[in-house]
């Protein structure tokens, strides 16, 4: 194996019946030197934060609605005031741009911007859309997945850590079953 190959990262997925086993796998992976964003828990159901001893995900989702609201307001002002100035409406000496009559539209524009940016923020912070990583349909049936990104040379360590925590199966990135570490040459 070349040095370049041994530096390449590969994803492994351990599948567990019980949350306790998945939490144990996370501890063992940490003990083996894996950490940070290398370890991911995958489940079909949200579990309480910290249930698996995983690190809290940092995000900036709360900034998105504010940015969206500002953009929405700007677009609503430009569109509405632009329309009032552009269309040759007879106003009978009253102001061409009438704020009380457009404040509703400005409000809706602001809220629409906030919602749209929030949705974009949700997708961005969830890292979606995503070409699906290592995954197994049995997760939908209730198994809990612990995925770990490991350099090629550290794959055996990761596999051992996953197996020692009572993994039902350990899968490769392509979904194929890994041979048990003890049986490997």
């Amino acid at each position: 194996m070349s040095a370049r190959d041994s530096d390449r990262k590969r994803e492994l997925l351990g599948l567990y019946n019980e949350p306790d086993d998945a939490a144990d796998a996370v501890s063992r992976l940490r003990g083996a030197g894996f950490g940070g964003t290398d370890i991911e828990i995958i489940s079909a159901t949200p579990y309480p934060e910290g249930a698996f001893g995983e690190q809290h995900a940092k995000h900036r989702l709360f900034a998105f609605p504010f940015a969206g609201a500002a953009c929405g307001l700007a677009v609503a002002i430009a569109w509405h005031i632009g329309a009032q100035i552009a269309l040759p409406i007879v106003t009978g000496g009253k102001p061409i741009v009438a704020v009380p009559a457009i404040i509703q539209v400005l409000y809706e524009g602001t809220m629409l911007g906030a919602v749209l940016f929030t949705v974009l923020g949700v997708l961005f912070e969830s890292r979606l859309p995503d070409g699906i990583g290592v995954y197994d349909d049995r997760i939908a049936d209730g198994l809990i997945g612990v995925s770990v990104m490991a350099r090629e040379r550290r794959i055996p360590d990761a596999q051992i850590a996953l197996e020692e925590a009572n993994a039902v199966d350990v899968l490769n990135k392509d979904g194929s079953l890994m041979r048990p570490a003890a049986a490997s040459p």
């Binding site: 991911e40 159901t45 949200p46 309480p48 698996f52 699906i132 939908a140 049936d141």
Partner: protein
């Protein structure tokens, strides 16, 4: 909760996706029937475009009839759906879990239906587009961008877009579940694309939880603004009976009353039609009925305010309108039916626990509410217009035509068909949310009683 949802994960997966993957015979029969009614509506719409508004029972000075009444009614129904969902999410009410999706979907289809009514009402749909987007620059005729009629499309477009986004984001985990469970390769590909590769990582679940709360918080002010703006279509005019400052909250609370009732009706139908007896329990309708008692009473208060403000100024036109609404046939009969069906029977019945926990009686009473609320909108819209003023030389009574009844039936069929098709293609209950409830559910012993103890995410 006295009777919490208790199903294992396998049963939840199977039962919640059962209707999505199965093709029961009644589905084809029902969609066929609904399709026929919708086709009838389309034929009437086509005739309307050819022959114009003479097909409707308009008579000078009444040119706002069934289409406007139905516009207000369906906007109202659309409101409570998202309100129920958003408030329950924000309050982290545990019993919300099976309720939210159906409420949100009801919002989408009733809102889409409501949007068709101003187009029908115009009689010339292509002109509606021109009024909003004056594309024909050469004619030199300009719509007024300051008109309240511009507020409506802005508000409804914002509300519909937000609701669709809200539902889609909440659907992502269930789309992923459908992707994993479906056997058909085309279905797998479609659900795969729609789920955007959602896997259920801790990060994705965390963002899902926050998104639900954040979007709920953003949608609630939109929900209030939309029906306020709909009420201003009336309140900013000088028509007697319409020109009233109390209209915005009156319309909003009326919308909540009819909408929450519609949610209960839909949930009871879903319970039997989709085999969701394990998920929609007596506790759900009981909780919603208790909410409805409060909402209905607040709505009655606003109705009384509207009445009192109409009489308090002793302005002849206002007093005449109220006299017409309450003391002249056929309005007296309509007023009595609307008060009895909109408040007296349902609220009187909901005071009894046995009624609140009885699916049949709740179904009947919530249908009654919507009959009453429809009549309320009819009473608001028509009598104010029917008044003969100084310059009214031609005068006739508005009598809804068969074409208008046909349009109403078609629009009702459209909402039901939309809901049914959505339920056929996508999970109508948030499976992940329900399963989360099962994980977090626990019971503690207090003396000799066992009571639910639920941990909630902050």
């Amino acid at each position: 909760m006295q009777e919490p949802v208790t199903v294992d994960r396998e049963t939840a997966n199977r039962e919640l996706l059962d209707f999505v993957f199965a093709w029961p015979k009644w589905f084809f029969a029902t969609t066929g029937l609904l399709g026929a009614v919708i086709t009838l509506g389309l034929i009437i719409f086509l005739l309307l475009m050819i022959f114009g508004l003479q097909l409707f029972g308009y008579a000078h000075p009444v040119y706002w009839g069934f289409p406007v009444v139905n516009f207000v009614f369906w906007i109202g129904v659309s409101h409570a759906g998202i309100m129920v969902s958003a408030i329950l999410r924000l309050a982290q009410a545990e019993w919300r879990r099976p309720v939210t999706r159906a409420a949100e979907v009801l919002t989408i289809f009733s809102l889409m239906t409501a949007m068709t009514f101003p187009i029908i009402h115009s009689g010339r749909p292509w002109r509606t587009l021109y009024w909003e987007f004056p594309y024909d620059w050469m004619r030199g005729i300009w719509p007024n961008p300051r008109s309240p009629l511009v507020w409506d499309p802005a508000a409804i477009f914002t509300y519909l877009t937000s609701t669709v986004m809200f539902v889609y984001i909440a659907l992502l985990p269930d789309l992923a579940l459908a992707r994993d469970r479906v056997k058909n390769p085309i279905g797998k590909a479609v659900y795969g694309v729609l789920s955007l590769g959602f896997r259920g990582t801790t990060r994705q679940w965390r963002i899902q939880a926050i998104a639900g709360i954040l979007l709920s918080a953003l949608i609630l002010p939109i929900f209030v603004s939309v029906h306020s703006i709909v009420s201003w279509d009336f309140a900013v005019t000088i028509i007697p009976g319409w020109h009233n400052t109390v209209f915005a909250p009156y319309f909003v609370i009326g919308a909540v009353h009819s909408g929450v009732s519609a949610v209960v009706t839909v949930m009871i139908i879903m319970r039997y039609a989709f085999g969701l007896k394990n998920f929609i329990t007596k506790d759900h309708i009981d909780s919603l009925a208790r909410l409805l008692i409060i909402v209905a009473t607040v709505w009655l208060f606003f109705f009384m305010l509207d009445f009192m403000f109409g009489l308090y100024g002793t302005e002849p036109a206002e007093v005449d309108t109220w006299q017409r609404r309450l003391m002249e046939p056929p309005w007296t009969a309509i007023a009595i039916i609307f008060i009895i069906t909109g408040y007296i029977i349902p609220v009187g019945a909901w005071l009894f626990r046995r009624v609140r926990r009885n699916f049949f009686l709740m179904f009947v009473t919530t249908i009654l509410v919507n009959i009453g609320m429809w009549l309320e909108r009819y009473m608001i819209v028509i009598p104010g217009l029917e008044r003969k003023s100084n310059l009214t030389f031609q005068y006739g009574d508005y009598l809804p035509s068969a074409a208008e009844f046909g349009i109403i039936a078609a629009q009702l069929a459209l909402v039901i068909a939309g809901f049914l098709v959505f339920s056929k293609l996508l999970p109508i209950m948030p499976a992940a949310d329900i399963k989360e409830g099962q994980i977090l559910r626990d019971e503690i012993k207090v003396g000799r009683a066992r009571v639910p103890a639920t941990m909630r995410e902050a």
